[in-house]
Amino acid sequence: MSARGQKVQQARPNKNQLLAMYETMLLIRRVEETLMEVFSAGEIPGFLHVCLGQEAVPAAVAAHLSQDDYIGTTHRGHGHALAKGVDLNLFMAEIYGRANGYCLGRSGSMHLADAGHGVLGANGIVGGGIPITTGAAFACAYKHPGRVAVCFFGEGASSQGAFYESLNMAALWKLPVVYVCENNGWAEFTPQSVHMTVADVAQRARAAGVEAEVVSNDVLAIHQVAGRAIARARSGEGPFLLEVKCNRWHGHFVGDAQKYRGKEAVAQAMSDDCLARFEQELIGAKVLTAKKAKELDQEKREAVAQAVEFARSSPMPQPGDLAEGLYL
């Protein structure tokens, strides 16, 4: 993490920063894989949306954020929360609906929030988080100068009026917000072509007067543009939209058999592996060795296994606790 206001974010990441991003991606990968497993095994009720294949975005963007910056995210929000630094055990306990989870087990995966790390919440309403996160940026401009808000969402959400309305206000008031659209080509079971006429969400942003840029699912490319966008926002130059063209590896939610999507298309999607690519790059650049990668992987696997154990052995909320805290 970098000092505020300075434009260091635009510099190429140093070795430690590269490794930190790699570790974040690795952690997200392992968490999501594990969640798929335990969810499929029936350990977790409700809906679960994983971001496998899309790990580069949270890692690269959050690399520019401090603990007290804000993020708002969506139903597919595990990666963003993890990258922002939430405690893995409390995160897992919440997804398991336990009393000691971040939200006392009331939110589960779909509404997970952590005030301590500025995670304003996943949101079950598509587009619902965009104006809320824009409001966080409003508060930054008003009360917490130097802080920024980052708003994650999908290309499907960009058809909601809330997207357009929020960008207009952000542009109008030069709010310190960076919109990050993970364009994975699918909204539930429907491909982008069915619900958008323009190819890029970036084009939609420009219409609202917000500068925008499109990058591929490459962690360093994302890191670079995000750095510039966040630095701009911190220094009061207003909002920016970063669109990342990526792929959703799996179904919309865990359990979605994807009958609407050909096997080949899925294989094609899964060939876009931002983590494997980054690993090769780091090894090639001698920032990482295969051995170190293995060690790190082992470390993450253990941390995730431990968090699952923590969640499993955590208490369920008590019916008597349900009413607590509706009003202050």
Partner: protein, 325 residues
């Protein structure tokens, strides 16, 4: 009669009505090739093509109002709102446009729009995917609101709704989607506004709708052993609701419990209880019991502890049976 699932009955109703009338069409998110999030429109795209089974972008506010405009110009759209919670996004269309266009324009336009939406808990889907908001719409003149509790009603009420020249909100219950039941084949229409006495009983009337009908029946079975006879009324329609059937039953049992899954406070049970209290109070031998969810959002965890059901209905009915003045 065939035994089919509730969700299939919904699909049959849409398919038959689309077959019958080329002006009937379906709009919603993922309703096309995927057949809808809950599978209601499975097969319809293949049968009717993408002009009549229309996948929309994610913009409930506008595709609902678009349907209102299309209806004013001669179509009969069915709109699927994937979860009832998302209807918050299109309340202007529901309330200021669809509900009012016929009346405020002095009857110049018909508004044959059906809004289908699955409500309620049971999937552990949490606070933003589990709400029962029917009471809002019952408070809005110009809308009709039905809540089918069985596959037969899911089909029969939806077909009536599609043929109605007024906007009708059809509140399905997610927890009923997989339920099987007998559904009459061929022309099966259930009139909007008529309740169904689904169990006769002499001691306490239970008025309810949707999923809670089954909970009331379970409570009735339980109380039978205790010698308390419940008369269970499935309102089917919340707006308009069948006062006569309710009043007739209360005139017989002199005791009433009203039950719904929605938050108890300001729910539709309040209206039923208030109407009985206003117009039929001298028939009552005990206070009117009300059952509904506690005053809080639907939590992700402990959903089952949160949701009202047979236990609460039985308790309220027991109290009504014993209570008096």
């Amino acid at each position: 009669m065939a035994e089919i699932r509730y969700i299939l009955a919904v699909g049959q109703a849409m398919g038959e009505e689309m077959e019958r009338d080329p002006d009937v069409l379906l709009l919603g998110e993922d309703v096309g090739a995927p057949g809808g999030s809950f599978g209601a429109s499975r097969g319809l795209l293949e049968r009717f093509g993408s002009r009549r089974v229309v996948d929309t972008p994610i913009c409930e506010a506008s595709f609902l109002s678009l349907a209102a405009g299309a209806a004013a110009c001669g179509l009969r759209p069915i709109v699927e709102i994937m979860f009832m919670d998302f209807i918050t996004v299109c309340m202007d269309g529901m309330v200021n446009q669809l509900a009012k266009m016929r009346y405020m324009f002095g009857n110049q336009y018909k508004l044959p729009v059906v809004v289908r939406t699955p409500a309620g808990g049971g999937l552990n889907a949490g606070p933003q995917h589990s709400q029962c908001l029917e009471a809002w719409f019952a408070h809005v003149p110009g809308l009709k609101v039905v809540m089918p509790a069985t596959p037969a009603d899911a089909k029969g009420l939806l077909k009536s709704a599609i043929r109605d020249d007024n906007p009708v909100l059809v509140v399905e219950h997610k927890a009923l989607h997989a339920m099987k039941g007998e559904v009459p084949e061929g022309e099966h229409l259930v009139p909007i506004g008529e309740a169904r006495v689904c169990r006769q009983g002499g001691d306490v009337t239970v008025v309810t709708a949707g999923r809670m009908v089954h909970e009331a029946l379970a409570a009735a079975a339980e109380l039978e052993a205790e010698g308390i006879g419940l008369e269970v009324i499935d309102l089917r329609s919340i707006q308009p609701w069948d006062k006569q059937t309710v009043f007739d039953s209360v005139a017989k049992t002199h005791r009433l419990v009203v039950a719904h899954e929605a938050v108890k406070a300001f729910g539709f049970g309040a209206e039923v209880a208030a109407a009985v209290g206003e117009e039929l109070m001298d028939e009552l031998d005990a206070p009117i019991g009300r059952v509904g969810a506690p005053f809080m959002p639907v939590p992700f965890s402990l959903e089952q502890a949160y949701l009202p059901g047979a236990v609460q209905i039985a308790q309220a009915a027991r109290q009504a049976a014993q209570g008096g003045f």
